[in-house]
Amino acid sequence: MAETVEAVETVETNEKIEEMNFVDKAKEFISTIPYNKIGMKDILNYEKEPRNNLVAFAIIVFLAMFVIGVVTYLIHGHHAYNVTREHPWGLLIAVYIFFVVSSTGLCIIGSLGDVFGFKDYEMISKRAIFGSIVTILAGFAVIAFEIGHPVTMVIYNVLSPGLTSAIWWMGTLYGIYLTFMIIEFIFLLKHDMKSAKIFGLIGLLVGLAAHSNLGSVFGFLNARPISNGVFYPTYFILTAFITGVFISFILMGWRYKLEFPDNAKKMLEGLAKIQGLLISILIFFVTWKMLTDIYGGMPNRAEVSIHILGSWTFWAEVILAMLIPLYIILKDMGKNINGMFWASLSGMVGIFFMRYNLVHDTQLKPLQMMKTREYQLTPEWIHYFPSATEIMISLGGLGLCLLLYYVGSKLFNLDADETH
């Protein structure tokens, strides 16, 4: 009997030691993450150049807008938004998609070097993965004020998961994705490339699954023939890659003030060529989507497509995100990197319109059901323009993203390690 008690005690002690070891190991792991000790002073202390002043000013204004927008929302609820029963998804959904597309895109770019082993692209891995973390956090910050009950969401997402819902899969997979991105980033900081590769690969696969699920949120809408089908889930992955390349140019251009070292030049020229191919595929996709939508004049689809072709936001998307960058790439066969920096800024504005159009166009056509009196006249198109609160929260998301990136760039070494 006594022996048994002793044995049990020994096992317990061993378990305790193991537990201690695990806690100690975790503590040691966290304490050895390389970062720069910075204070408020360091954050406020930046090079006083016009471009830096401009961005600092923009961040402060955007964050102030975020606070005003959120307070207005907390007081008035969804009434502060211009969303209606006929057009329940507005600007904030589009901005959420914009941020998570950026995140997935940066994850793809970050994976080129440290997951797929393309040496030329390793220099941007850490920066891109960090970018993917801050963009998705900004996306979550925006969507938190669009979802009516975010706390309920967290609880019932777990307690009663709707497994047939694309939104459930998208949200859950993005949560897992964020975790893997953070772990990958930590391993990159520690220069543990083997672990970074494993977590990066899993993170990438989860991210792609999450992102195509976001496309399927629209693709699954049988009630909306303009969005229904396989197009959006695949198109989302393509446009994520394109967005990732645009942001890479912006990040590197900002980092090196448009005076690139040779290795950055080599990488960006490679990315420009990839971008040329991707944008060409995108134009091909969009052209065929439009043609198949219009062909045969199917009700609720053809007319919506023709309406889209007549909207300026569609042409903003085409010109800013497709034609301008493609022209810059083709003109010098991808060698005009400075030009691509500016074209990427244009591209990101175009990508914003792309997201806005996707959300708005889905809801353009009223479902009608003969409620003609509701509209006074026979309804043709649902109108929507974002309210000031929606615009303020959206810009606030951008401010948050820029602030997090700036603090991160002070806190961590986002450049490639010299041992590369």
Binding site: V83, W89, H149, S165, N222, M369, M370, K371, T372
Partner: protein, 187 residues
């Protein structure tokens, strides 16, 4: 238990809107939520006098179709939308996160946001009110002066609605979407 549905002899509708009023009164629908939970569709008469198209003047009362294969239930991320024991499509407001996905997915425009709970609401076939009190009719049916509506159990062979659907030709709205609506329009 039951599988509730409704048959509408829509050609008898005179667009008096008593059903809209009764529904609001019974279910406490807020003022302003007009034509959100239940409505009467009205087409303008086509043609030019004297060659008016009389048939085009029909009214089409409608509401949630309580689909057997409801897109709103399928897309709900938290199972806030569910089928109750009578196969009525319901919303549990405690679970609703107001993501509005159901409002976009419903092909019948039958969902709206209730400003009191800030969750999505819809026709419940009076499950919370009249049926809960043991009555067997819905408010819209009970009030209809021309007896357009017949509510009942589709699984009960002897119910009035089953009899009607056996003996009268009928159609459902947007059947091509495969939603299997339980609102039937008698022709």
């Amino acid at each position: 238990m039951a599988r509730y549905g409704m048959a509408l002899d829509y050609k008898n509708c005179i667009n008096c809107k008593a059903c809209e009023v009764a529904c609001k009164e019974e279910n406490g629908v807020l003022l302003g939520a007009d034509k959100h939970r239940i409505w009467v569709g009205a087409n303008d008469v086509k043609g030019e006098w004297p060659l008016l198209d009389i048939a085009s003047a029909a009214f089409l009362p409608s509401q949630c179709q309580h689909c057997d294969n409801a897109p709103c239930q399928e897309v709900c991320p938290t199972h806030a939308t569910y089928y109750d024991e009578n196969n009525v499509v319901r919303v549990n407001s405690d679970k609703c996160i107001l993501c509005s996905y159901c409002m976009n997915a419903c092909p019948y425009d039958a969902r709206y946001v209730d400003d009191r709970t800030m969750t999505v609401d819809k026709c419940t076939f009076c499950s919370d009110t009249r049926l809960a009190r043991g009555e067997t009719t819905t408010a819209c049916q009970n009030t209809c002066p021309t007896k357009v509506r017949t509510f009942g159990d589709l699984d009960d062979y002897d119910s009035e609605i089953s009899e009607l659907l056996r003996t009268r030709e009928h159609f459902s709205l947007k059947e091509n979407l495969g939603t299997k609506p339980k609102l039937f329009y008698l022709t």
